[in-house]
């Protein structure tokens, strides 16, 4: 509920006509924008086109200028109000700088090797030019698929338990610890998977399934939270109607509650996959890296896209430029995967939303 009120309380709440805006003693609406444009020009001259200094100068100069102009024309209180408006707006602008710069950098550097060979060749026997990330892409898909297979049943059943069955202390405990689990650092999840498997297979073990276990620790709480939210939204009347027809509770849940909430569950699961598909640290220490293609998650090291990108950038070999190009393309592919999954999630929630006539 954002209340949209012009910063000039004297001209009334929300119903200011253009005439009232120009009352003596208030600045025209375009004034702050104009002042900031001036500040940006001055900052560009002062900073010599260094981006960090440019941003700082623009914000500081612009805010100061807005304050001074408003202080002279409108008085102390409105000057403070305008200053805060400038600061808050610039804060949003500042946050956009890294986003735009990052996407630009990754796209422009990664587009170079985004060719057919990148998707069809592995790194087996490749020194220098050429090669691709086929093995890493397949590894990422296999491990993420396994993670989903482990996490979704556990996460979904936990959410069902929390919404439909649980009461009292156990419910509070599970809710609380699911929240806490969302905060586990990804590297700790990796160490956990290693510590678990090392007891069975001995030291130095690296398996695809270990990566899936590590990622599951990160994915389960996300699935639980999102599934819990949508299950709560299923109207109680639907359950009651089903009970009234003599349907057992578990049939009610599987035939009425879950189908009603399936769009939301799908969205939640997709977003959870997007969260883990870019994880690097746990895979780095549990799955390792290899140059050959390995489809068997129960036998030896596998390559995954994030770990592949990491090693191509940090250990490019000689000459380095080919590996570094591959690293950027892998990073671009990762971003495309994550963003694609986010878009798919929104589409699911838009097109498969329940038609309950609420």
């Amino acid at each position: 509920m954002s209340v949209q009120t012009p910063p000039t309380p004297l001209s009334g709440a929300g119903a200011a006509t253009p005439m009232q805006q120009r009352v003596e003693g208030t600045l025209p609406r375009w004034a702050p924008t104009a002042v900031f444009a001036g500040a940006a020009v001055a900052a560009a001259l002062l900073s010599g086109f260094n981006i960090a200094l440019f941003v700082i100068y623009t914000v500081v100069l612009g805010t100061l200028a807005v304050y001074v102009v408003s202080r002279v024309r409108e008085g102390r209180r409105r000057a403070a109000d305008r200053t805060v408006t400038s600061i808050v707006t610039s804060a949003f602008g500042i946050a956009m700088v890294p986003l735009v710069a990052l996407i630009w950098e990754v796209v422009s550097r990664g587009a170079e090797r985004l060719d057919a060979e990148f998707f069809t060749a592995s790194l087996y026997g490749i020194i220098g030019e050429g090669g691709g990330a086929y093995h890493a892409l397949m590894g990422t898909l296999i491990i993420t698929g396994l993670t989903t297979l482990i996490s979704v049943p556990i996460g979904l059943m936990t959410a069902i338990y929390l919404v439909e069955y649980a009461q009292g202390r156990l419910k509070r405990a599970i809710t609380f610890f699911v929240d806490v689990m969302t905060g586990i650092p990804s590297i700790v999840a990796g160490l956990f998977a290693y510590a678990l498997f090392v007891l069975i297979f001995g030291p130095g073990i690296r398996l695809g399934i270990m990566g899936a276990v590590a990622l599951s620790v990160l994915m389960i709480p996300v699935v639980v939270r999102s599934a819990e939210e949508v299950l709560k939204l299923v109207p109680l009347e639907l359950r009651e109607a089903s009970y009234a027809l003599g349907v057992p509770k578990w049939r009610t849940i599987t035939k009425v509650v879950i189908p009603t909430a399936i769009a939301g569950i799908g969205t939640g699961v997709t977003l959870a996959i997007a969260r883990v598909i870019g994880e690097t640290a746990p895979l780095l220490i549990t799955v390792g890296i290899t140059n050959a293609t390995n489809f068997d998650p129960f036998d030896g090291r596998m390559a995954t896209l994030p770990v592949y990108a990491y090693y191509q950038l940090t250990q490019p070999g000689v000459p380095p430029e080919f590996a570094i190009d591959r690293a950027w393309t892998a990073a671009l592919l990762l971003i495309m995967l994550v963003m694609g999954l986010n878009v798919v999630a929104r589409l699911i929630s838009r097109f498969f939303a329940p038609k309950t006539g609420r």
């Binding site: 509920m1 209340v3 309380p9 981006i51 960090a52 200094l53 209180r77 109000d81 805060v84 408006t85 707006t89 804060a91 949003f92 946050a95 890294p98 710069a101 990052l102 950098e105 550097r109 059943m157 936990t158 069902i160 338990y161 919404v163 069955y165 009461q167 599970i174 806490v180 905060g183 586990i184 650092p185 590297i187 700790v188 160490l191 956990f192 678990l196 090392v198 007891l199 030291p203 130095g204 620790v217 389960i220 709560k232 299923v234 109680l236 009234a244 003599g246 057992p248 509770k249 578990w250 997007a274 640290a281 780095l284 220490i285 994030p306 690293a327 990073a331 990762l334 963003m339 986010n342």
Partner: protein
């Protein structure tokens, strides 16, 4: 919390218990308990694998001076980078949340929220790539300026790193990464502020800023604190961005812009683990256990603060 009745409160319309019901209910219950078992398992297995390092004589630990002096600089680096991130990100995130909830045109607000959330969708390794190639070199002139003009403060004593791969750069990248978390939670509590409180302030002639200062900030304070602590938890455990960007050498120092920086626990594990064997692995797991306990504490405190807020939000 608009739903006053949750389905589990319904005891009156219970259908008869059948075998299918019992099996389904106990499977669901088992899944819930499994979560608690996993969390306990994380602690237990880490502890078990860390034990050899905890009991080993000092000279077997890397660095030859025992576990405490191995972990201390890493712990310091972890806390320092997370603190920088928190100091930079919190005001920015609160301002962004205010912009989206109270300043941006309402029709755009939803989309602006999505755009900020995009920052959270970018994998941490990509932040590392971007930080080392784009951000770090661009910050070097700024660090030079800091060294020349504010060099008397120990934080900016220099000498300036030529690559920009400093603790300060890492702090800034971490700040960008935790920005969406803090601003998402702040946004949520700002939207819960009772409209009547805001309208009352405006009706008394308050400007928009005065309204925010009187009605929105006091109401949303615990949300801001809880959100920034969740962000802190994320910053403490962040691995790949730090491992790629930070140039590591030397021990504990407050100098943020030089090339000698302590590593962080998470980054150190990522860098050392693939090449380690024997007791070194146990040492790394011990440091991971320390990180786990710290983030666990921070997150539990954060959740407690946020949840306490939720109990009161029945006001609207």
């Amino acid at each position: 919390m608009t739903a006053t009745r949750t389905p589990s409160d319904q005891s009156t319309s219970k259908p008869p218990r059948r075998p299918g019901d019992r099996i389904f209910a106990s499977t669901a219950r088992g899944a819930g308990i499994l979560i608690l078992v996993i969390l306990a398992g994380v602690t237990a297995f880490l502890l078990y694998e860390a034990l050899p390092a905890l009991t080993a004589p000092a000279e077997e630990i890397p660095g030859d001076e025992g576990l405490v002096s191995y972990i201390a600089p890493l712990l310091f680096g972890t806390l320092l980078s997370a603190t920088i991130a928190l100091v930079v990100a919190t005001p920015l995130a609160v301002a962004i949340a205010l912009f989206i909830t109270h300043y941006a045109p309402r029709r755009m607000a939803l989309w602006l929220g999505y755009v900020v959330d995009l920052l959270a969708a970018i994998p941490s390794i990509v932040y590392g790539f971007w930080g080392i190639t784009w951000l770090a070199p661009k910050l070097v002139p700024f660090y030079r300026w800091l060294e020349e003009n504010l060099g008397f403060i120990p934080l900016f004593a220099g000498p300036t790193s030529a690559t920009g791969r400093t603790m300060f750069t890492v702090g800034l990248v971490l700040a960008i990464m935790i920005l969406p978390i803090i601003s998402a939670i702040s946004r949520e509590v700002f939207l819960q502020v009772p409209t009547l409180h805001k309208e009352a302030a405006l009706a008394l002639g308050a400007t928009r800023w005065e309204m925010i200062k009187m009605a929105v900030i006091p109401y949303g304070k615990s949300g801001i604190i809880g959100g920034s602590m969740l962000g802190l938890g994320r910053a403490l455990g962040e691995t790949m961005a730090v491992a790629i960007i930070l140039s590591v050498s030397g021990g504990i120092t407050f100098n943020l812009i030089s090339s000698g920086n302590p590593s962080t626990i998470a980054a150190n594990v990522a860098l050392e683990f693939p090449e380690s064997t024997g007791i070194d692995v146990n040492t790394l797991i011990a440091s991971g256990l320390a990180l786990f306990l710290i983030t666990l504490g921070v997150n539990m405190l954060a959740r407690w603060i946020v949840n306490r807020r939720a109990d009161f939000s029945g006001a609207n």
